[in-house]
């Protein structure tokens, strides 16, 4: 499960991004299995826990002179590279006075 948060300026150029990954046991950051199933014994759990909400609080630096920003948050479920789908996408537009 991948969270991508990006900021774009008024011309649509990406000016900032942040990524957080919750991963299955035994796989790397690209969902590629690194440890065979039967070898998984001593685990580090980097998954999203049930009945919990994970909060990312981010201070986004924007280029000088930015007049408006668009913040996008996307959750993607990636089974393996190339086999993925967007779970949720949310966008907020921020005008700078």
């Amino acid at each position: 499960v991948v969270l991508d948060v990006t900021a774009r300026n008024e011309s649509g150029r990406k000016v900032w991004s942040h990524r957080k990954i919750w991963q299955e046991l035994g796989v790397d950051l690209h969902s590629v299995q690194q440890v065979k199933s039967w070898e998984i014994k001593n685990t580090i759990d980097l998954s999203l826990q049930p009945r919990q909400t994970h909060t990312e609080r981010l201070l986004v630096p924007l280029p000088e002179g930015t007049r408006a920003a668009e913040i996008e948050a996307v959750i993607t479920y990636q089974h393996r590279p190339g086999e993925e789908f967007v779970v949720h996408r949310l966008v907020k537009k921020l005008p700078f006075k």
């Binding site: 499960v1 969270l3 948060v5 900021a7 957080k20 919750w22 991963q23 299955e24 046991l25 035994g26 065979k36 199933s37 039967w38 998984i40 014994k41 685990t43 759990d45 998954s47 999203l48 826990q49 049930p50 009945r51 919990q52 909400t53 994970h54 909060t55 990312e56 609080r57 981010l58 201070l59 986004v60 630096p61 924007l62 280029p63 000088e64 002179g65 930015t66 920003a69 913040i71 948050a73 959750i75 479920y77 089974h79 789908f85 779970v87 949720h88 949310l90 966008v91 907020k92 921020l94 005008p95 700078f96």
Partner: protein, 293 residues
Amino acid sequence: MMQWVPGRAGVSAALSAAVTALALVSSPGEAQTVSTLAELIKRHDSAECESCHESIHKEWKGSFHARSVTHSLGSLRAYIRAVEEDRKLLPDKTQMLKCLDCHAPIVNDGDAGVMQEIVALVKAATDGKDDAAKAAAVARLSPLNVGCTGCHQVKGTGDAMRPPEPGVIYGSTGVQAPHPTRASPIMPSSVMCSQCHALWYAKDGEYLYCTTIFESHQNAYRGAGGTQTCQDCHMKSKGHTFPGAHDQELVRQGITLSLEAVTYQQVVQGKKHPRAVVTVDVGNLAGHRVPDG
């Protein structure tokens, strides 16, 4: 009435006869093992179930349960290689059940010879250079996928003290049917699924984690007040298709996202710089950690 009291020789003969009888007849709770793959497949042929349970059978055919062996052949081959080459052991029933007790529960009814047949077929399906021969091996292994009797017979009671009775089909209720049926209290509960989707202990003491989810369900979800069962989410709306992480609708129900963002002028050495303060909440409503196997 006179009672016959056997002498020492009589007791010995009686005991011997009883032991022989026990050896010849399986105990009421245990199915006799078969010695060929053909017999095993015949015993657990899901086509018999399909004739009455057509819609359920159709649902199951689209599920990952219906591909539990054929979808995992690469891993099975790697495991056999690890057993033979790394562990210097024979891929016998004890070793192979570490995978197949869950990927192919019906193999519990097979003897050592059946397991040899299966190991040879897995090798043929993955190592061979002849595509037709590989396809034939895959087709031969295909009936071993988790099918009707894998859950409703072999894993039907989930109780070592009350093993499934041969020929009995276990369900949530013991309805009238052309075959023996019995209600199994575990069938509608998460315990049923936990027989495979949980930490698995082998006869030789090894345990296999296999990134399964029951520990998370039991400890993190139930422990935090969750009350839903596996079946509530993975069977209620789509039955025996057992939707999981490949079902986008189900994943969207399980993961939540919210976004808040405000502008902010950060003052650094008397000069204002444009910033945004972004708060993203990602929630997990599933009854287990996400992602998981």
